[in-house]
């Protein structure tokens, strides 16, 4: 019995509801704020001239040393919380300040396009087998 794999998603994808509740995700962003009393932190990321926020529930990863403005990586499950909306219940929260976010984005896209490529090839190979 193992937990599900946490696939990389961009912060703007998480808020748009692209990820289903209960799914495990990995994402990143700058620590915008942290409220230890309710165990909530917010990561923010810039994309297409917009600021995107992801709410993180930090109960499982406390205590952690919050460095406001630093880049963080979070790994956890998607939850729909009342009044908050989409939230990530963190199992891992690591500070990765200094990370090249543009390069990280590129790497995530590279991996995605590789998997798409592979799935395409596999479905092409399977084509003659199924009737449309």
């Amino acid at each position: 019995m193992l937990p599900a794999a946490a696939v990389f998603h961009f912060p703007w994808e998480i808020n748009s509801g692209a990820v289903q509740e209960g799914e495990s995700v990995r994402t990143f962003g700058r620590l915008a704020c942290y409220d230890p009393e309710v165990s909530e932190a917010t990561l923010s990321a810039q994309h297409a001239s917009k600021e995107h926020h992801v709410v993180i529930h930090t109960m499982f990863v406390e205590p952690f040393n919050p460095i406001i403005g630093a880049q963080y990586i979070v790994l956890g499950e998607i939850e729909n919380a009342k009044g908050v909306g989409v939230m990530v219940r963190a199992r891992v929260l690591n500070c990765v300040d200094g990370v090249n976010t543009a390069l990280l984005q590129k790497a995530i896209n590279e991996q995605r396009s590789f998997f798409r490529e592979r799935d395409h090839k596999q479905s092409d190979a399977a084509q003659p087998a199924h009737a449309t």
């Binding site: 193992l2 937990p3 794999a5 390069l103 990280l104 995530i108 590789f114």
Partner: protein
């Protein structure tokens, strides 16, 4: 509470540990049991594409010896520039220990064979260690590199290379030589002409793999017949060089004698050694092989090679007809 009796590989998956009420309670254990508790070797690892259990056996070597005081020692008595082996080994042990202390969320590098246990695939880690990756450069490089590896290497089907021309030429030559030698033995051949053995090599020619790759234009090459003759020629040359065969008489008629079955040659060599060993000159030391060779060439055939003579001498020695007195010297037994 049992200490080391349960096989660590048999313990329940770590995800289920929370179901054990004792797990979350502060159990009142004996200190002895606390010190002897087996540590789990399960390390579930997630790389974003899947999660797999890795069995990371903790090395006893890394366990603390003595206690905190030992690890905190400063090596102030070491002279500048000298290399204290004990101190360096201790530093190494500590570094290895630090690298192996794993916590959730850490980046890990794992290497090992994949095994199936409890219907699940696991990695039996032969090597594992924490990776320091403060700005994710290692993870980013991984995500960029691995697709390339797959495209260039892993996803390409494994193809057995067709034999390179060089390889097949060598192997068919040695096969051909052995075929003919076997024929000599089986049929106790004393002498032969090339066409007598030519057909033996036929199967080697027809089974030659196409050396020109399919996508290249076929070049006009030698016919099967020519290939056969060429192979035969090469084999006969090898057999002559080895001394296995020789041409007693060099004439238009290409007749070869098989050295091992040539009774006349054998007798000639034996007689030479017998006679010359009686002479004072050779009585003590025996006859040198070159002397024997020149005598054989005078008496028997100009075309006896040194290698052929060596074969004859060996067989005479095996029969105890002659004996070697020293390197390259022979006399009667």
């Amino acid at each position: 509470m049992q200490s080391a009796t349960m096989d660590p590989a048999e313990e329940p998956p770590s995800m289920l540990w929370g179901l054990d009420p004792i797990f979350s309670a502060f159990a009142r254990l004996y200190v002895r049991d606390i010190l002897q508790m087996t540590e789990s070797t399960q390390v579930p690892v997630d790389d974003g594409t899947g999660v797999i259990n890795c069995l990371c056996w903790k090395n006893d070597l890394f366990k603390e010896e003595g206690g905190p005081t030992k690890s905190g020692e400063k090596h102030s008595d070491v002279a500048h520039g000298s290399f204290n082996l004990v101190a360096e080994l201790e530093k190494l042990r500590q570094a290895q220990q630090r690298r192996c202390r794993l916590e959730i969320g850490e980046l890990l590098r794992v290497r090992g064979p994949v095994k199936t246990s409890r219907q699940q695939r696991e990695i039996m880690a032969s090597t594992y260690y924490r990776v320091n990756d403060p700005v994710m450069s290692v993870q980013i490089a991984w995500m960029m590199d691995v697709p390339q590896l797959y495209r260039q290497c892993y996803d390409k089907p494994f193809q057995l290379q067709p034999d390179a021309t060089g390889d097949s030429a060598i192997s068919s030559l040695s096969k051909a030589t052995n075929l003919i030698k076997d024929f000599f033995k089986e049929k106790s051949v004393t002498r032969f002409r090339p066409y007598d053995v030519q057909d033996l090599l036929q199967p080697l020619i027809s089974s030659q793999p196409q050396t020109t790759p399919a996508d290249q234009k076929p070049v006009a090459g030698p016919s099967a017949c020519q290939q056969l003759r060429q192979l035969l020629k090469e084999v006969l040359q090898i057999l002559q060089d080895e001394g296995t065969v020789y041409r007693r008489v060099k004439s238009q008629d290409e007749v070869y004698h098989v050295t091992a079955h040539d009774k006349d040659l054998l007798i000639a060599v034996k007689d030479i050694i017998h006679e010359d060993s009686k002479r004072d000159k050779y009585a003590e030391k025996g006859c040198h092989i070159l002397h024997i060779l020149s005598a054989v060439r005078q008496r028997h055939s100009l075309n006896v090679s040194k290698t052929a003579l060596e074969l004859v001498l060996k067989s005479l020695e095996c029969n105890s007809d002659i004996v070697s007195t020293s390197d390259n010297h022979y006399t009667v037994f």
